[in-house]
């Protein structure tokens, strides 16, 4: 037996009137629709989940731009493609940054093999001098032991943004510590 496709336009009209149940159904239906679309374009399942979440949040933010009079799917897919492109752009930018990191790492390994590892406590003074957001991210990840994903949830950010912010903080710290 095949499942009847939901009337997305109708659900969205109800959602715009404040119907919570219809909105929840619409969001679930959106996930069901978009998962194969994203799976074809992304390699890892966790990436699909991340982008799906981004899309749901974007749909929520942009719902006032849908009037219930025109087809829903083109509106939804426009948002989905936009967020997917955003994700891919960030993903490739991250890759480039990490490629640069390996070169940095080689230098550090060469110079510092005999040095003691730096602990969070030993540089906490420097960390507190960082911008508030970066300092909080490092505190959560290195003092309290949260993963990047958990940190992102705590701070209401997405995981990639947390990684990028942490990476920038490492760079600043490295520069400052090297100057000392």
């Amino acid at each position: 037996m095949t499942e009847q496709p939901a009337d997305l336009e109708h659900l969205m009209r109800l959602a715009l009137q404040g119907d919570k149940q219809a909105y929840a159904d619409l969001l679930r239906e959106t996930v069901r629709l978009l998962r194969p679309f994203l799976s074809k374009r992304l390699r890892f399942e966790h990436e699909v989940d991340d982008v799906l979440q981004e899309i749901l949040i974007s749909l929520h933010k942009a719902r006032h731009t849908y009037d219930g009079q025109r087809p829903f799917k083109p509106w939804l897919y426009a948002i989905a493609r936009f967020r997917l492109q955003d994700h891919l752009r960030m993903h490739y930018a991250d890759h480039l940054r990490h490629a640069e990191d390996i070169a940095d790492l080689e230098n550090i390994l060469h110079d510092d093999v005999t040095e003691t590892a730096i602990s969070y406590e030993s540089i906490s003074g420097e960390i507190e001098r960082l911008p508030e957001k970066q300092a909080t991210i490092l505190r959560l990840m290195h003092q309290q032991g949260y993963t990047a994903k958990e940190t992102a949830q705590q701070m209401g950010m997405n995981e990639s943004a947390v990684k990028v912010a942490a990476h920038r903080a490492y760079k600043v710290l490295r520069q400052r510590l090297e100057q000392k």
């Binding site: 404040g18 119907d19 969001l27 996930v31 731009t65 025109r70 087809p71």
Partner: protein, 211 residues
């Protein structure tokens, strides 16, 4: 999957009645209304060019003004369409400014050929660009402020057209204020800067219309 179910629960709990945003045509008409009021105020403050009645008898000048007006309306409509994620499913309409700018270039070309003997250059030059830019600042700020309330999936294009619309307001104002018939001057200092304006709008759109 559990995270997504949590997110669905969270977002659906925030569902409240929402009034859909004005449709692109309505939005562009509102912005055009505001632009005309602003233009009237600017002209009231600066005054009209003393030979306006005579200048309007020149068909090239009248056509230039009319096309500028259409460019203002076209770019506003395009920016309004681009403010919606799906361009309100009227993608073709968003290309309107391309046709208008094409017609405008043709018009300027013919007006330049018809300008014999060439009208004398005014003594000033880049001041015109600065004046237009100055007059365009408020419309540009208003357009970006309004567009930020939407959800563009083409923020660079939306920013570009919004800034071109604002610059058109300034350009119309200057043509109605300044006594000047030199088509070469007008092309060089009134209209060529539009290319730069479009590029600045592109960059601003990418930053300011992100959501």
């Amino acid at each position: 999957m559990k995270d997504i179910e949590q997110l669905v629960a969270q977002l659906s709990s925030e569902a409240t009645p929402i009034r859909p945003a004005p449709a692109p045509l309505q939005l562009s008409l509102r912005l055009a209304g505001a632009a005309f009021i602003y233009l009237l105020i600017a002209l009231a403050a600066s005054g009209l060019r003393s030979d306006l009645a005579h200048a309007l008898q020149n068909p090239w000048f009248a056509a230039e003004l009319l096309l500028l007006l259409l460019i203002l309306l076209g770019t506003l409509l395009s920016a309004a369409l681009l403010a919606f994620p799906d361009l309100h499913q009227k993608r073709t309409l968003a290309y309107t400014p391309a046709a208008l700018f094409g017609a405008f270039i043709l018009l300027l070309f013919f007006a330049w050929h018809a300008d014999t003997p060439p009208a004398p250059f005014p003594v000033h030059s880049f001041e015109c660009t600065l004046d237009i830019t100055f007059i365009s600042l408020i419309p540009a700020a208003l357009a970006f402020f309004v567009l930020r309330g939407y959800a563009s999936t083409h923020p660079s294009w939306a920013g570009s057209f919004a800034l071109l619309a604002a610059f058109s307001v300034g350009a119309i104002w200057l043509r109605l204020y300044e006594v000047n018939d030199s088509i070469l001057h007008v092309v060089q200092w009134h209209y060529l800067p539009m290319i730069g304006v479009g590029l600045i709008g592109w960059a601003l759109g990418a930053r300011l219309l992100k959501w």
